[in-house]
């Protein structure tokens, strides 16, 4: 069987049953668009959570240490896998920051000598809070360390919220996917059922099951491509034009990884995959069940 036959029959199948094809395309479009929106919103939420995580640094306050002792401690901190980088803040720098933030006018830096020198430790991207927490305990036991602080509460809130969001998002995504698959598969099944006379006639003249099935599968793939492109178009229009214009408080929700083609490719791929699987499953099942004498 030539590919030309499969493609031409696939296209002809869509043209011959316009309403059924429209229903399949529409259900695929809805499924892929909703999943695309969820993916885009989730990615942006993840980015926000990451940015917040990054903004929480660990402060390691020091006793009065010699230059050599300070260097040794800095090296020790830097050796930790979770540590991205370490910045030394001298007593003078700490006093300058204090003055700038609290405005102790007239006071000399010497008056602020009670402020200890410290290391600002930046953790690597995505470092888990439990691990940071145990690292903080570990740092506190190092010689020359007076105290270690970090905003655990804020990190905990970020982590908890992000986990809840991921769980709920994943659950909603899973439900959308499940509902879409059921909807799409059933729509395709009905589309194929509407063509039972064609299936019967083909079986009657000795067509093999795979010969009958392939144009239906091609039809599903073509419907998937159309639905995927449509979902992409609607996403571009809504996220680039409608949302910024009418609901500006949502802000700009970027494409995942800053590039349009990852999500676009995934959406079209998903639509084609669902069209392919749906039609393959429905056609296989229906062709096998169809008796030519019914």
């Amino acid at each position: 069987m030539s590919i030309e036959y499969i493609v031409s029959e696939g296209i002809a199948g869509i043209k011959r049953a316009k309403l059924a094809s429209f229903t399949s395309i529409f259900s695929l479009f809805i499924a892929v668009f909703l999943l695309g929106v969820l993916a885009r919103v989730s990615y942006n939420a993840y980015e926000v959570a990451q940015a917040l995580r990054q903004s929480v640094d660990v402060e390691v306050f020091l006793n009065d240490l010699s230059e050599q002792e300070t260097d040794n401690l800095e090296n020790r901190l830097e050796e930790e896998e979770l540590v991205e980088n370490v910045t030394y803040i001298s007593k003078d720098s700490a006093a300058a920051v204090f003055k700038e933030e609290f405005g102790t006018e007239g006071a000399s830096l010497a008056d602020l000598e009670f402020l200890p020198a410290s290391f600002r430790v930046k953790m690597v991207e995505g470092a888990e809070i439990e691990k940071v927490d145990s690292l903080v305990v570990q740092f506190a036991e190092y010689e020359g360390v007076e105290e270690v602080s970090f905003n655990q509460k804020l990190l905990e809130i970020i982590e908890t919220r992000f986990r809840t969001f991921s769980l709920v998002g994943g659950l909603i995504g899973g439900l959308i996917l499940l509902a879409s698959v059921i909807l799409v598969f059933n729509t395709i099944r009905l589309t194929i059922y509407a063509k039972r006379s064609l299936i019967k006639a083909m079986k009657l003249v000795g067509a093999t099951n795979s010969f009958i099935r392939r144009p239906f599968v091609m039809e599903g793939v073509i419907q998937g491509v159309i639905a995927g492109l449509l979902a992409l178009l609607v996403m571009v229009i809504s996220f680039q034009y409608i949302l910024p214009e009418y609901i500006p408080q949502v802000g700009i929700l970027d494409w995942p990884f800053g590039k349009w083609y990852y999500l676009s490719g995934a959406m079209i791929f998903l639509a084609v995959l669902m069209g392919f699987w749906g039609s393959q499953w429905a056609a296989r099942k229906f062709i096998r069940k169809t008796s030519i004498s019914e």
Binding site: Y5, R16, S197, M202, V205, G206, T208, F211, I292
Partner: protein, 228 residues
């Protein structure tokens, strides 16, 4: 199986749940024969045909058609069997959204014939049934008799060895029935074996051939002239 048999049913029994439809039936159709199969509604005529084109497997017994062991055949070989058969039903089963030409041509497309040969053969079989001039029409433009002739043309497209006709005149007026019967006679005269299921005794009397009756699960030969 004898040398000239194209259909052979040996000791066939078909039961649906507790009802025996065919009871130890043995039947032969020889090459070039025309045989009628008659019987009341529910006598098992359609089951008999379904056994031949492997839409139904017998409870016991064996079926051999066009040199193929039907009962022992793997599912994937069923299409090959059906290509050796031309099948005509009472309801025409034409594709309403394709022209007459396309309806006949698609029977050949499924068997992978070349485009040039398909064109030549479709025109040939449409000529045989007297409908070449209607090739661009849609099925709905044709009368019942003409549609049934298109179905016969489609059945003949792949040059089958046997024509199975299940009540081919059942939905037709007397005039259209006559044209279909004349066509079947013509096809049989060219050497093709025909097995026709009917309950139209007038047709059996007007075009007499060997006639078998299915009754109470058994098959018996009857004299067409004595049918009332």
């Amino acid at each position: 199986m004898s040398r000239h048999s194209v259909i052979e049913l040996n000791n066939i029994t078909v039961s649906f749940e507790h009802r025996v439809v065919l009871d130890d039936v043995t039947f032969n159709l020889e090459n070039g024969d025309f045989v009628y199969l008659i019987g009341q509604t529910g006598a098992g005529k359609s089951s008999f045909l379904r056994l031949i084109y492997r839409d139904l497997l017998p409870t016991t017994g064996s079926v051999r058609v066009a040199d193929m062991e039907v009962t022992a055949m793997a599912e994937k070989n069923v299409p090959l069997l059906r290509r050796r058969l031309g099948i005509v039903f009472q309801d025409f089963q034409l594709l309403p959204d394709r022209t007459i030409y396309e309806n006949v041509a698609f029977a050949m497309k499924v068997t992978g014939e070349k485009k040039g040969y398909i064109k030549q053969r479709v025109m040939e079989v449409l000529g045989m049934v007297g409908l070449s001039h209607r090739r661009r029409n849609m099925p709905e433009d044709l009368s019942g008799g003409e549609q049934q002739r298109v179905v016969i043309a489609r059945a003949l497209a792949n040059e089958p060895r046997i024509l199975l006709a299940d009540e081919p005149t059942g939905n037709l007026d007397p005039e259209a029935s006559a044209s279909v019967m004349q066509l079947l006679e013509k096809i049989n005269n060219r050497g093709m074996s025909v097995l026709m299921v009917t309950h139209d005794y007038d047709t059996v009397r007007d075009y007499p051939h060997r006639t078998m009756r299915l009754q109470d699960g058994k098959i018996i030969e009857v004299n067409p002239g004595e049918l009332r």
